[in-house]
Amino acid sequence: MAILRLERVSKWYETAGEPFYAVRDVSLTVEPGEFVAITGPSGSGKSTMMHLMGLLDVPSSGEVWIDGVQASHLSDRELARLRNQKVGFVFQSFHLLPRTAAWENVALPLMYAGVRAAEQRQRAMEALRRVGLDPEAKGYHHPNQLSGGQQQRVAIARAIVTRPALLLADEPTGNLDSRSTEEILALFQSLNDEGVTVVIVTHEPYVAQHARRVIRFADGRIVGEEINEHPLRAELAEVAR
């Protein structure tokens, strides 16, 4: 069963009576364990795609299934629950809560999932270890005490802490230097090796080259799709495990 299925999905906005299509009639299926990159110039609709896939936005028409659940007509409450359990988000600007310890940032989705406090802490620490941060050394740091790469790793830990079916990343390396970019890409690849489905939205060809499947967007439509038989491997010893 597909992790993600979009069936003739469109998203439009009414501007001065004229509908503006951000996404037009897109169908797409992502299978478990895939590593997909969605690329395209800015304004091509790829960010809207990511919002639709992550259930942050509802389509104007068409259907979205996530892990077998049809999500297009769910209530706000049920959508929040699905987001919490099925999707992990990674954002370009990290979106970590300031003045809040790294582990507490990671534990945030668990809080909304209703996990017990003791278990929250333990799972958050586990997730931090998985993304290559020493929970004892960095777990109590506030975001402003961490480097950009470390902050994004905390954000990834937060995305995987609920063990979601799908990891959605929106320009995850957009705010990082090349060294940190390598680290983060290596981390995504190693998570994918463990079976996590990863979808990265990016406008950087270099980042897209790390995906097995690349989908090109322009003017709200899919204009091309290719399979990358030999994706680039980002390897960094310190991140590997």
Binding site: H51, G54, L56, D57, D76, R77, A80, R81, R83, N84, Q85, F89, F91, H95, L97, P98, R99, T100, L108, P109, M111, Y112, A113, G114, A117, R158, T162
Partner: protein, 401 residues
């Protein structure tokens, strides 16, 4: 989403902006503090007024002469010489009256050594001490024998004693009043309240009438009812007796006035209570203004934290969870402000008590009411900002810069 965690989050957001948090709290603190202080002071004032009036005597009725009209000109209350000693005798026969004390006052010059002091000279019977609840701090009151013999003895008030004798014990000393020698046999305990009651000398009524005023008509008759329940009945009986005594026929108005202590008490209590609710109302308005302050700041906070709200929604926070988070925050402002306000109100009321010498006790009802109202104000004025926060769309919120 547990309560503890949300409270922790709220407290953290307070700590992020201490000045703003303080200013928000200030509105609530002032409101609650004002309510608690004013209600406590109001209670204390009512209690002290009550105590003073009760201190005038026990189940007291005060009879004074009414108005006379002389050649078409009204002479004002108390101008008539309508009360007589036979009225006193008649009143003493009433079954619901326990004691009757006729009373007459004049001004007199008291001389002791080279001290020359102008004060009030009051003449009455020994019953006065019971009827008016007069306690003696030293010596004894004059007795019936001294009253009957018009003895030259006097009981002195504390203010008069201080002015004449300084700190020396006045009992046993002899003073000259308008050239007649009097022995001081007792000193009154301080009456508190107005010092007028302490600035006087009390002598037997017969002595006063014979040596000073020459009039046998008392200017006031103090009547003590048997019990509080019987005060109304006693007042009616006193009125009927005096009308009969004065030969007033049906339809003629009274030539005397009866003042009922209970009536004065309830009137004054009514006044202080009205004043208290008025002050409480003003304090309540300031609490309302504090609530609007909370709403204002919460709206700013929601705008500032738009991205945070978007993130929380992306991570699985429902509208309800966001709503709760902001409601707990505004409720906490009310709660913390309420607690601090109660402390300030208590301190304020205590200081007022110290300065004015009133025994101020914390009004427990006011504390509860103010506290609950503060929390409710916090919650109510937090609703609109919280609803706004919960309705933010996650994508717009995440993009917000």
């Amino acid at each position: 989403m547990n309560l503890l965690k949300t409270t922790q989050t709220a407290l953290r957001s307070f700590a992020q902006n201490p000045l703003r948090t303080f200013l928000t709290l200030l509105g609530v603190i002032i409101g609650v503090g004002a309510v608690v202080a004013l209600m406590s002071v109001g209670n204390a004032t009512t209690a002290s007024v009550t105590q003073r009036i009760e201190g005038l005597g026990t189940n007291l009725l005060v009879v004074t002469p009414g108005q006379v009209t002389q050649g078409g000109i009204s002479q004002g209350l108390g101008s008539a010489q309508s009360l007589t000693m036979s009225d006193v005798t008649a009143l003493q026969q009433l079954s619901d009256v326990s004691a009757v004390a006729p009373d007459q006052t004049t001004r007199a010059q008291v001389v002791y050594g080279d001290t020359n002091y102008q004060t009030t000279l009051e003449g009455s019977t020994p019953d006065l001490f019971d009827v008016r609840n007069l306690e003696l701090s030293a010596g004894r009151p004059f007795n019936l024998v001294e009253e009957q013999n018009a003895a030259n003895v006097a009981v002195i008030g504390t203010t008069a004693a201080e002015n004449i004798f300084g700190n020396a014990n006045p009992v046993g000393r002899t003073v000259w009043i308008n050239g007649i020698s009097f022995q001081i046999i007792g000193e009154l305990a301080s009456q508190g309240g107005t010092t007028v009651n302490d600035d006087r000398l009390i002598v037997p009524l017969s002595t006063l009438q014979r040596r000073f005023t020459g009039s046998s008509n008392p200017s006031t008759i103090y009547v003590s009812a048997v019990s509080a329940d019987q005060m109304q009945q006693a007042q009616t009986d006193v009125e009927l007796t005096l009308r009969r005594q004065h030969g007033l026929s049906f339809g003629e108005s009274d030539d005397f006035v009866i003042t009922n202590q209970a009536t004065i008490l309830s009137t004054l209590q009514g006044v202080t209570q009205a004043l208290q609710s008025f002050l409480g109302g003003i304090a309540g308005i300031s609490l309302l203004v504090g609530g609007i302050g909370i709403m204002n700041i919460m709206l700013v906070s929601v705008t500032e934290r738009t991205r945070e709200i978007g993130l929380r929604k992306a991570l699985g926070a429902t509208r309800g969870a966001i709503l709760r988070q902001f409601l707990i925050e505004s409720g906490l402002v009310g709660l913390i402000g309420g607690v601090i306000g109660i402390l300030f109100g208590w301190v304020g009321a205590t200081i007022y008590g110290r300065v004015t010498g009133t025994a101020v006790t914390l009004n427990v009802d006011a504390v509860w009411i103010a506290f609950v109202v503060a929390v409710v104000v916090g919650l109510v004025f937090g609703i609109y900002p919280a609803v706004r926060a919960s309705r933010l769309s996650p994508i717009h919120a995440l993009r917000y810069e």
